[in-house]
C-alpha cells in the first residue's frame, strides 16, 4: 500500500504535474500546466469560473486522462502505472465533491460505512464505531440514520467529508467546499479542514474561488487563466494578493473588474 502521508519532517513533493494538457473531445481546456503539491500542505487551485479548476482535479483523481504530460504521485506515474495500481493509490485519496455526491439510496452512516465494508476486513461492530467516530469528527453523529435528502447543504458537505475520511486518506481533495454555504458554516468547514490537516497529517488540495476561505487556509497554490488556458501564477493566495502584479490575478484577488469587463455595462 502506498504511503502518501508525510512523515513529520517530510515536506517534499507529493503530486507533481508536468506539462499537462486536458481536453474534452476537441475542446481544449488547459495546456502545458505544471505545478507541484508538497506533502502536508493545503494547496489551492484558483481561478475564475470556467478556467478548468475542477478539470485539473478530475485528472488528479483518475476521472480524466490528460491528453499529454505527466502526473506523478509520490514519484509514481499516476496514469501509466496501470488500472490496478491506480486503484490502490486512489484508495489513499479522499474526495469531497462539489455537491457532496452522497449515495441517495443509503443513509449517512451507510455512506461512510460502504468504503470500509468494501476495502477492509473489519467487523461490523468495528465499522460502526469508526462510522460514528468519523461522523462525530464532522459534527454529524446524530445524523447517522438520516438520508442525504433530509440534510441541509452544509450537513451534506460534512457528511461527504466524513465519507472522504472513511479510509483515513493521505490526500484529501475538495471541490468547491464552500460553494453554497453561508459564511458561518463555511468558516466552520475551513476550521475543520485546518484541524484535519494538522491532526491527520494529510495533504489537502482545494479547488475554490471563495477568497475568504482561500486566504484563511491555503498555504500554497496555483492560479489558472481561462484565456491562456494555463497557470499564470504560483504561490499561496495571500502571496498572490500581496505580490503578484498580473492584471488577471490582481483583479481576482481584489475583486476588481479587468479592463475588458469594465467596458461592459449591465
Amino acid at each position: 500500500m502506498a504511503e502518501l502521508r508525510s512523515p513529520d519532517s517530510d515536506t517534499g513533493p507529493l503530486i507533481v504535474l508536468s506539462g499537462i494538457t486536458l481536453a474534452f473531445g476537441p475542446k481544449l481546456i488547459l495546456q502545458d500546466l505544471s505545478f507541484t503539491i508538497h506533502r502536508g500542505s493545503i494547496f489551492a487551485i484558483m481561478g475564475g469560473s470556467g478556467c478548468g479548476k475542477s478539470t485539473v482535479l478530475q485528472s488528479m483523481i483518475g476521472l480524466l486522462r490528460p491528453g499529454s504530460g505527466l502526473i506523478r504521485v509520490a514519484g509514481e506515474d499516476y496514469w501509466a502505472c496501470g488500472e490496478e495500481r491506480r486503484a490502490v493509490i486512489d484508495r489513499r485519496f479522499g474526495v469531497l465533491f462539489q455537491g457532496a455526491a452522497l449515495w441517495s439510496a443509503l443513509t449517512v452512516g451507510e455512506n461512510v460505512a460502504l468504503p470500509l465494508q468494501m476495502f477492509t476486513k473489519l467487523s461490523e461492530a468495528a465499522i460502526y464505531r469508526l462510522v460514528k467516530f468519523k461522523l462525530s469528527l464532522v459534527g454529524l453523529d446524530e445524523a447517522i440514520n438520516l438520508r442525504p435528502s433530509e440534510l441541509s447543504g452544509g450537513m451534506r458537505k460534512r457528511a461527504g467529508l466524513a465519507r472522504a475520511l472513511a479510509l483515513d486518506p493521505d490526500v484529501l481533495f475538495f471541490d468547491e467546499p464552500s460553494a453554497g454555504l453561508d459564511p458561518i458554516t463555511s468558516r466552520r468547514l475551513d476550521d475543520l479542514i485546518l484541524n484535519l490537516r494538522d491532526g491527520l497529517g494529510a495533504t489537502i488540495v482545494i479547488v475554490s474561488h471563495e477568497l475568504p476561505s482561500l486566504f484563511a487556509i491555503a498555504d500554497d497554490g496555483v492560479f489558472l487563466d481561462a484565456e491562456t488556458k494555463t497557470a499564470i501564477a504560483h504561490g499561496s493566495p495571500s502571496e498572490l494578493r500581496d505580490t503578484c502584479r498580473d492584471r488577471q490575478v490582481e483583479a481576482f484577488m481584489h475583486r476588481e473588474r479587468v479592463p475588458e469587463e469594465a467596458a461592459v455595462t449591465l
Binding site: 467516530f133 462525530s136 459534527g139 446524530e142 483515513d168 494538522d198
Partner: protein, 470 residues
C-alpha cells in the same frame, strides 16, 4: 525457524545494497541479532491480517516487499516496516519498535491516568474499544490524564479510542487532561462532539393494522384525486391546443412522436411477429387433427386484431415508453427542473404531460395496426411452411374472418391504453422523490402499473364487448 532469520538478514542486506538504495536498513541487523534463534517467527502483515510463512515467500519470489514484517518473540513484537511499492518506487521508509495497541488505566484516587502504547492504526482491526462503563467504579476520581508511552504509528484509531474514554469520563463527571498528547491528537479530540445539534430521525413506530389499511386507502384516494386533476388538465389543454391556446411546443410533440412511434417499430415488430407465429403454431397443431388447417388464418386474425395486438403493443409501450416518461420526469423532479417550470409559470401539464400523452395517443393506434399486419404475417409464414396453405388462401381467409368492427374495437382499445400508460407514467414521475433511487422506483412503478392497468382495462373491454355484442 532459525532459517528465517538468516533469510531475513540476506534479504535486508540485498535490499540495502541493490534494490532499494534509498532505504536505510542498517538498524535491522542489531534488531535481528538480538533475537534468539529459537521461537523466531516471521509474519507478513497485509491489510492488518497477519498471515504467516507463505506470503513472505510469495512476496520474495515476486521480487518485491510490501507491508510490515513482524518478528515475534513470545509476546514481544518488533515491527520493521519497509514500505516499498514494486521494485523501485519508495514512498516512505518508516521504522519503529511498536507493539499491538495497549492501554492501561491507572487509578490514583482523585487523579487517574490512561496510558496508551503500541501501534494504533484504525484499519488494522486491532483497536480496542473503551467500555462506556469503564470509569463507573472510579467514584473519587476527578481528573483523567491521557498519556502516550512508546506509541508507534497512530491515526484516527487512537483518537477514536481516546474519544471513547473521554465520553466515559464526561458521563462520570471526570475532567479529562489531554495536555500530554501531541498537538495533532488534541486538535482531533477537540473536534469531536462539537458541531450544531441535529434533529434525531423519528423512531419507527408500530402501527395497528387498521391504521395501516386506512393510510393505504387514503394514499390511493389521494393518488386517484391528483391523477384525475392531471387528467382533466391534460384533456383541457389538449382541447385548447389546436386553437393555439395551450403552451405546447411543436418541437416537443414531434420529439415525443418520434420516440413513441418510429423508434418503437422494431420491438413492436418482433413481439407481434412472434405472437402471430406462436398462435399459428399452437392452432395448426390442433386444427390439423380435424383437417381444419385452413382455419388457422381465422384463429390468428381474430386473436391478434381483437386481443393480442392491442394488448401486446400496449405492454411493450408501457415498458419502453411509460418507464422512460416516469424516469425522465422523476429526474427533472430531482434536479428541481419541475420547480423551475412552476416558478417561471410554465404549466407542467402543457410542457411535459400533454406532449407525452398526445404523442402516445396518436402513435399507439398506428402501432396497433402495424402490429396486426406484422402478426398476421407471422401467422402466414408458419401456415405456409407448416400446413402448406397458399398465401392467397390465407389472406382471403383472414379478410373473411376478421370484420372491420374488430379492427375498430382494437383501435379504440389502443387509444384507451395509450391514455392509461401516458397518464399513469407521467403522474408517477411527478410524485417521485428527489433522489436517484426515486428515479428507479418511479420507473419500475410506471412499468408495473402500466402493464397491470392495460390487462385490467382489457378485461373491462372484454366485458363491455360481450354486453354490446361485438
Amino acid at each position: 525457524m532459525a532459517g528465517y532469520k538468516g533469510r531475513l538478514l540476506d534479504l535486508f542486506s540485498a535490499l540495502s545494497a541493490n534494490a532499494l538504495p534509498l532505504l536505510n536498513l542498517e538498524w535491522i541487523t542489531p534488531v535481528l541479532g538480538s533475537l534468539p534463534l529459537i521461537d523466531c517467527m516471521v509474519a507478513n502483515e497485509v491489510r492488518g491480517q497477519a498471515c504467516q510463512g507463505r506470503s513472505r515467500r510469495s512476496a520474495l519470489s515476486n521480487g518485491r516487499i510490501q507491508g510490515a514484517w513482524v518478528i515475534s518473540e513470545g509476546a514481544q513484537n518488533t515491527t520493521a516496516r519497509v514500505d516499498t511499492v514494486d521494485d523501485a518506487t519508495t514512498l516512505k521508509t518508516h521504522s519503529n519498535m511498536a507493539e499491538a495497541p495497549l492501554w492501561e488505566l491507572r487509578p490514583g484516587g482523585k487523579h487517574a491516568a490512561l496510558s496508551v502504547s503500541g501501534e494504533w492504526v484504525a484499519l488494522s482491526g486491532r483497536i480496542p474499544e473503551f467500555s462506556p462503563d469503564g470509569l463507573n467504579k472510579m467514584v473519587e476520581c476527578e481528573t483523567l490524564a491521557f498519556t502516550m508511552t512508546d506509541v508507534g504509528r497512530w491515526d484516527s484509531g487512537l483518537i477514536e479510542f481516546l474519544w471513547g474514554a473521554k465520553q466515559a469520563a464526561e458521563r462520570n463527571n471526570i475532567t479529562v487532561n489531554d495536555t500530554a498528547l501531541p498537538m495533532a491528537a488534541r486538535k482531533l479530540l477537540g473536534l469531536l462532539g462539537s458541531g450544531p445539534p441535529v434533529t434525531k430521525a423519528a423512531k419507527h413506530q408500530r402501527r395497528f393494522i387498521l391504521t395501516f389499511i386506512g393510510d393505504r386507502v387514503m394514499a390511493i384516494l389521494s393518488d386517484l384525486g391528483t391523477l384525475s386533476v392531471v387528467f382533466s388538465a391534460t384533456v383541457k389543454a389538449g382541447a385548447l391546443a389546436p386553437f393555439g391556446r395551450a403552451r405546447v411546443r411543436t418541437v416537443d410533440v414531434l420529439a415525443n412522436l418520434r420516440d413513441a412511434g418510429p423508434s418503437a417499430l422494431l420491438i413492436v415488430s418482433v413481439v407481434n411477429f412472434l405472437i402471430g407465429a406462436i398462435l399459428a403454431f399452437v392452432g395448426a397443431a390442433q386444427l390439423r387433427k380435424f383437417a381444419a388447417g385452413t382455419y388457422v388464418a381465422n384463429l390468428v386474425g381474430l386473436a391478434l386484431v381483437r386481443e393480442m395486438a392491442p394488448v401486446m403493443t400496449a405492454i411493450v409501450m408501457a415498458g419502453r415508453t411509460g418507464g422512460a416518461y416516469a424516469a425522465r420526469i422523476a429526474t427533472m423532479q430531482g434536479g428541481e427542473e419541475i420547480d423551475a417550470l412552476k416558478v417561471i409559470g410554465i404549466p407542467v401539464v402543457d410542457y411535459i404531460i400533454l406532449p407525452a400523452n398526445l404523442s402516445l395517443v396518436i402513435m399507439m393506434p398506428f402501432l396497433y395496426l402495424y402490429g396486426c399486419l406484422v402478426g398476421i404475417t407471422g401467422g402466414l409464414v408458419v401456415a405456409t411452411t407448416m400446413l402448406g396453405i397458399t398465401v392467397s388462401s390465407y389472406v382471403h381467409q383472414t379478410l373473411t374472418a376478421v370484420p372491420l368492427s374488430q379492427f375498430e374495437f382494437g383501435f379504440v382499445k389502443s387509444i384507451a391504453f395509450a391514455f392509461l400508460i401516458g397518464m399513469t407514467s407521467c403522474h408517477i414521475g411527478l410524485k417521485a422523490g428527489r433522489s436517484s433511487a426515486d428515479v428507479g422506483i418511479s420507473a419500475t412503478q410506471a412499468v408495473v402499473v402500466g402493464i397491470v392497468g392495460v390487462i385490467a382495462m382489457d378485461a373491462v373491454f372484454a366485458v363491455l364487448a360481450n354486453s354490446i355484442g361485438i
